[in-house]
Amino acid sequence: MNATVAVRGLTKKYGRNLVLDGLTLEFGRGVTGLLGPNGAGKTTLLRSLATTLAPDGGEVRALGLDPADRGQRTDLRRRLGYLPQDPGFYPHFTLFELIEYVAILKEMTDRRERHREVRRVLEEVGLSDRAKTKVRKLSGGMKQRLALAQALLGEPDLLILDEPTVGLDPEQRMRFRALVSRLGENRTVLLSTHQTEDVAALCERVIVMKGGRAVFQGTPRELAAAASGRIWICDAPPGDSRLFWRTADGRYRVLGDPPPGASPATPTVEDGYLLVLGEPFGAAE
């Protein structure tokens, strides 16, 4: 893999809370999924890569550029698309005005070219027929698509998306997956999510974070394989502290040591993720 983004020993503290603890990882072109529980440091990592936050220590190289250097940071921003976790909007702006505002911040000074680009990204996310609607009149899912549209301005080489599928209905998620997989064909996309289905469907590579460190880096298939021999199906609840749940066919899916009479099941990315995190059933990290 040719890494387009490499992070070495990244640290970040908020007060006494160590959010990134010597984080080291790398990924290249295509779509990379970032999984982890709340507080794992995903958003802090994404903000560091998006140059909106300076880490306390460690090194970042993105597209061969060092965000700690002022000139290179500006160069990186010219090639970056970023969808923050809580994208804010000016509610009294129309969709066209809001996207145009971000386009100006991205140094698109030629009016005609800028307007063409605004129309293109609104079309990409299926909002071109709402260009003159005020942002305050949009539903949550539409706002999320609008936030994605601004990230696509200028066809960035590095796209950083922090929980982009929040608020999208199933049909919108399908459209989103199609769009992101197409974008990932010729650029680097980092996608933070809680949805393991998105990772399984979209990502060539997955990174799992916990406690400010990367505890897994590999393909989704390898993540699922991490749960091989640890997933079981049985007819009765195991009756101990192992993690299990009742499935739609009335049987029980168990993670961890096999209960009596259980048969092995094919692990999923979600199973692998839960086992890599090692909670709450004491599996090794």
């Binding site: 804010g88 909007f89 809001l98 009016r111 307007h115």
Partner: protein, 278 residues
Amino acid sequence: MNRPWHLPEDLIERYVTGRLEPAQVLSVESHLARCEPCRAAVPYEREWLAASWERIEDLVDRPRARPVARLLRRFGVPGHVATLLVATPALARGWLVAVTAVTAFAVAAAHLVGRDPAAAFDGLLPFLVAAPVLPLAGIAVAYGPRVDPVHETQAATPLAGARVLLLRALAVLVTAMALTGAATPLLPGPPGLTTAWLLPALALTATTLALSTWFPPPVSAAVLIVAWLGAVLASTELAGDGLALFSPAAQVVYGLAVAALVPLVYLRRARFDPGESR
């Protein structure tokens, strides 16, 4: 069934060369809209057509510039800068109303107190004290994660940091000074005194920006507003002369402060960038 009718060649030629009457042009174009073979028979330049279509699309799609943006453009501000400035949270209606209200109140107070000739100068004090802090209040809500909903998005763009903050601060300063300046001729008193707020306003704004390279702008502005009001109180209560802060000697100090602080802000401008290490 009738055979479909098509435009004769000579009609197409006269249409292309612009030799038709307006009514005939309308008739031809109405037919062209419905008939693909005839459209294909009309020679055209692909690039010209694409560019023309884009111009039409742009005219239909683009929103009409906001009144403030149109006004700025009339004063020679480039269109993209005007659009940037219109988004400044501080320039939203709330702050403008507040500035106008405070200014109107101070002017009214000056006239009410000024009826007594012995207290004419004291009557100007509320105006002179309020005018310099109005831009500070605007700068406090012009830039930053707590006051700008789009801050995180814009922090990842090439214009993040100094360029947006200073542009907005300048817009706020100019707006506040224009509103306050418009009220100045309405004040009773000599012009030298009624404009004595100008240099303190510039000095306090420059100090706010300089402090904002260390602390968030709302904190810097709040500290300076309190310090300014404290200084006014101290000079009124202790020295017994509220106008001492607007004396010629004080004006020299404000002028020197502006001259020293503007280069400092320029030198430390990288500190406005959220991606800069502290």
